[in-house]
Symmetry: C2
Subunit: 350 residues, 2 copies
DNA sequence: CATGGCCTCTGAAACGATCAACTAAATCGT
DNA sequence: ACGATTTAGTTGATCGTTTCAGAGGCCATG
């Protein structure tokens, strides 16, 4: 079993310096066309696969991949429609630059709890070892230790919340929530349940501690509270942001003594789960009880869900541009939102 | 602006050898608890972010990430439900091992065409530079140069088709297609259009050259042909595997002089697009014209699409295990398929 | 008391490229 | 035909770790 050839070996065989072989791959313009041909021919013939990526990025300080941080487990990236849309937009931009996308599950971090050193190390383990040029943080709490690690490494991070990363792409979570709240109030809803996802993935619980909420969720809850004014409002923490959580939360809502006339969820993913469960329980969304969400994921239109639209894909593209396009210098972008009223919200039934 | 500390600097400051600092991070058992504490404390205090990933992987020959190859552009990974399900399964397994997932778009490769060296280099560019321990190839043609590059690098590759990667997870594409063909025949269909995706992304075309098909598509087409027996069969190449391609292909089918009574698509993604377009054109799938697909993605059930079920998520999990679990030694796994008859196929209308 | 074995920790050699500075030859304008 | 610029390629240092063989110190054993 002969060993794999190195760049040096190719150089020796070709009778040129290692730098020339490197240039044959990385800077064609620094080499005569003939010499380059000869070198690449020889390399192919020797079964040389090209410069070793680790060595190359050690020296050049570039890896060609951009990291995507998840505070949830990795499957979330592919199961949540908001997430896939965001990644889709990002991918559009990345595709043009030859960048690869590194998916980094970072493990959930509870703000209220303190971590031993080893717990914290294992929380950032995957990210510490990851080779990346820059990173995107979506749904990562600003206090997550992984952000500190990346900052120490000098990796540029852009985020979708205030405080994650030095630059960010935002939507007006609070303002749009106020608008949704007003919509519900104008329909006559006086008892409303607000279902929110949270960092701690437990059973649905009423009136959670605010610190367990992701910043965006807190803003949305606050906005709803303002928009709903004097309405009677119950906040329910549903656990992680999945349809399943939504389903369980719906049951929690139905179990309360004074059933609300409307449910507002902090994400469409939750709302879709809620819709599902209500139907299962024989209730007609829109007629018997109103339901609303946030984000306007593709499925929302099909389900007739009233929701706050945000340009998710464009958000992904913008994040990508912030990292990849040097001429893109804005450090804060706010994208527009719009209330989309569909059939899942209606006036309070008599 | 002071420079970022290196492991060596931390070692010097702590009065220990670099090896000990390395061990503090990577092999706690090689160090007394006290020494480790002292080193990590100092590191934190100096703002040391932990061992540099590139240097670490250069020396240790391990990167902690597993590559996922796409022959399409990156957005495909998040748009195609088959793909997200596969990745979801993979992610389940990867999550347990602390591995990250590196998404590698590799650019489409037409088998029939020959490539200049520079064209070929740019085709594999992203992958050549990517740091990974192993890779998964799904929907990558066995002849794609990227597979050669990875083989030269000695990266283990597992695939979902014969010939991609030294190990693979398969389904019986041909056999299940025979079954679907027989189903359609038993319903009385004598004129059938087969819509298939292909590597070249052009306008829908009739009776394509077989070499433009991905292996799985060719097997499915062949199987359908066998199962349908004497039926009159037209093969239509729809371009890339998207709902949009399916929609366009539906129009091509409807434009033919002798309209078929059934359409079989080589994937649910295409079939869903076809269903959509037929409805748009005022036809009722199942009643006016039968439609069937392959894969049984989640949306298929909602759409009432008759299809060949395959355990996509399990496929992803198995691929992951092949790479990550050393005790998993099978080199070829075939997963079961099952014909799922729903409402989109029915007896030929009178 | 000598022997062996374990536990900590160290030293020096890789790992495989790229970079910045430089030289020699070729090209240019006048 | 001469210095100035460009082109083509080289040299040697460097990127920041991990690894492996082994050095001491310490304890238990015979």
């Amino acid at each position: 079993m002969n060993t794999r050839p190195t760049l040096k070996a190719v150089a020796a065989a070709a009778g040129v310096s290692p730098a020339s072989v490197s240039n044959a791959y990385n800077r064609p313009e620094q080499l005569s066309a003939g010499a380059r041909e000869r070198i690449l021919d020889l390399a192919a013939q020797m079964g040389y696969a090209g410069p070793n990526p680790s060595a190359s990025s050690l020296r050049s300080r570039r890896t060609g991949s951009i990291g995507m941080l998840f505070a949830q487990d990795l499957t979330y990236a592919f199961d949540d429609p908001y997430c896939t849309a965001l990644l889709g937009g990002l991918a559009e931009v990345a595709a043009g630059t030859g960048s690869n996308l590194l998916l980094l599950p970072v493990g959930p971090h509870e703000v209220s709890r303190s971590y031993s050193r080893d717990e914290e190390l294992s929380l950032v383990q995957g990210t510490r070892r990851a080779a990346l040029d820059s990173a995107i943080a979506d749904g990562v709490h600003p206090g997550h230790p992984v952000l500190r690690v990346l900052a120490e490494r000098g990796v540029p991070v852009v985020g979708t919340a205030e405080g994650t990363g030095e630059r960010c792409v935002l939507v007006d979570d609070r303002g749009s929530a106020v608008e949704l709240g007003e919509h519900l109030r104008s329909l006559g809803h006086q008892r409303v349940a607000v279902v929110t996802d949270s960092m701690d993935d437990g059973e649905p619980a009423v009136a959670p501690d605010d610190t367990h909420l992701f910043p965006y969720a807190r803003l949305r809850v606050d906005g709803l509270r303002e928009g709903l004014g004097t309405a009677d409002l119950t906040v329910i923490s549903a656990g992680s942001n999945t349809q399943e959580s939504g389903r369980r939360a719906a049951d929690t809502v139905l179990a309360t003594t004074t059933r609300p006339t409307a449910i507002a969820a902090t994400s469409d993913t939750l709302a879709l789960g809620i819709l599902d469960q209500l139907r299962e329980r024989g209730l007609r969304p829109g007629a018997d009880i109103s339901v609303a969400g946030f984000d306007d994921v593709p499925q929302a239109a099909l389900a007739g869900l009233t929701t706050v639209h945000q340009p998710i894909r464009e958000k992904g593209r913008t994040l990508g541009r912030m990292l990849l396009d040097p001429s893109f210098t804005q450090t804060r972008v706010t994208l527009p939102t719009e209330l989309v009223v569909r059939t899942s919200t209606a006036p309070t039934p008599k």
